[in-house]
Amino acid sequence: MCVAEADPILNQPQIYDPYEYALHDDPYPVYRRLRDEFPLYYNRKHDFYAVSRYADCMTVLRNFKTFINGKSTTLEKEVIPGSLPFILSMDPPDHTRLRHLMVNQFRPHNVAPLEEVVRETARKLLAPHAGTGRIDIIADFAAKLPMAIICALMGVDPADEDMLRGWTDDIVHREDGSNEIVEVNITGTRNLLGYFEEMIQGRLARGEVGEDIVGQLIAFEQQGKLNHAEVLGYLYLLAIAGNETTTKLIGNFTYQLWENRHERDRLIGDPSLAAGAVEETLRIDGPTQMQGRETAEPFELHGHTIPAGSKVAVILTSGNRDERHYDDPETYRMDRGSRDHLGFGGGLHSCLGAALARLEGRIALEEMLATMPDWDIDLASTRRMHSAYVRGYTHLPLTFTPRSAA
């Protein structure tokens, strides 16, 4: 969809391209410029609009009849060939029906009993490194913890965790400056869906459906509440969502608390502040930077008309740093207590796994404080993920004072 030629929005300098790797190091000055100068921005190369102020992000997130999720929450015009519908690629009433089936599972109260297994897993992952004084907190810890938990909830064999994580990484990969679907997205999708299909067929053949998430979804299909594609789509989403973002959240608070050492010192003195540190990281440097919507009808914003059928980027982390909404928003304050941030999105599509992510994040931080409270980052050796949507490290090597085995 092209805007009318006379529209001054066409003359905007092209300062925001989420597909450009160079942006990923520090997108925040660009976000600030968008908020101040171009609150409705239009990217000519990829043909999408972007909102960056808190109030505008909320308008889009809440107004789900105008700003639909459509086929996907990406800005790409096409979805990955072979992918299936899942709740992020649905709108009411189908979205409502599917979300209700699983929502109970993810309520904070029902997630809380996982505390013990999350802590045990975190300790097991950190223990071999405690005496060495070195760890790649992403590769050795943060990439493994959330995957282990979601795999346990789905009943996936722990031996397969690394393989599944590889496929989910393949699915979200994009080349520098490009929003084209690439071959690994397709093979990753095929592999992941094939894995779950085999798992389901194996259980049906054995006559043991099980009581984990996979078992529940099979039961919903047998009761006619879901069709088979929806079951596979659900598992596909959970595998990706359960992996990617929580991993990056752990990396991002590792960085933020190193950068803001006075806050880490307070945390060492009072680890009960850990939940607040996780929350503040979600606000100021949340892994999900941006999500896309599509206009079902024209919409007026800041004096322009966004035509129907346009892609709209909602820059969540820009909204979270909007000085029109938060005091001193670019300062990391773990006792800020903001619970209206957009780190998990907002509205009907707000992150289903938010309570689990908070739990995993808090326990990961508590265990890191217990094992390596003085972590130092070797900045030159860090490596970033390159995604238009998710911000975080793929390698984050730390050094710390070694501890003798407890």
Partner: protein, 108 residues
């Protein structure tokens, strides 16, 4: 699934009658109908308490009691009362037909 009609009383006192599908929640029906004061930030996982409503005593008693998790969230709200509920935890059913739901408009 049939539609159930009931009324939201928005924080400014304005009333809005809606029809909503059975099985949806009071939070979702409020977002669908643009009711002021219901934010539903967490999308219904019972973790943000931005969908605080008060029910009539009679209706409150007719519904299942709030779960422990919901009760804990409600207890943390400054303006909670004896018939407070979180809209995302109340499923729309026949019991709500003709009901008047007071939106308390909790600040996030």
């Amino acid at each position: 699934m049939s539609d159930v009609d009931f009324t939201y009383i928005q924080p400014d006192g304005e009333e809005k009658q809606v029809e909503a599908m059975e099985g949806m929640t009071l939070m979702e029906a409020a977002l669908f109908n643009g009711i002021d004061g219901i934010q539903g930030l967490c999308g219904g996982i019972c973790s943000c308490a931005t969908c605080h409503v008060a029910l009539d005593k009679e209706l409150y008693d007719k519904l299942d009691a709030p779960s422990e998790g919901e009760a804990e969230m409600i207890a943390m709200l400054d303006d909670h009362g004896p018939t407070s509920r979180l809209g995302c935890q109340v499923s729309i059913s026949e019991a709500l037909r003709g009901a008047r739901i007071r939106v308390l408009g909790t600040e996030a």
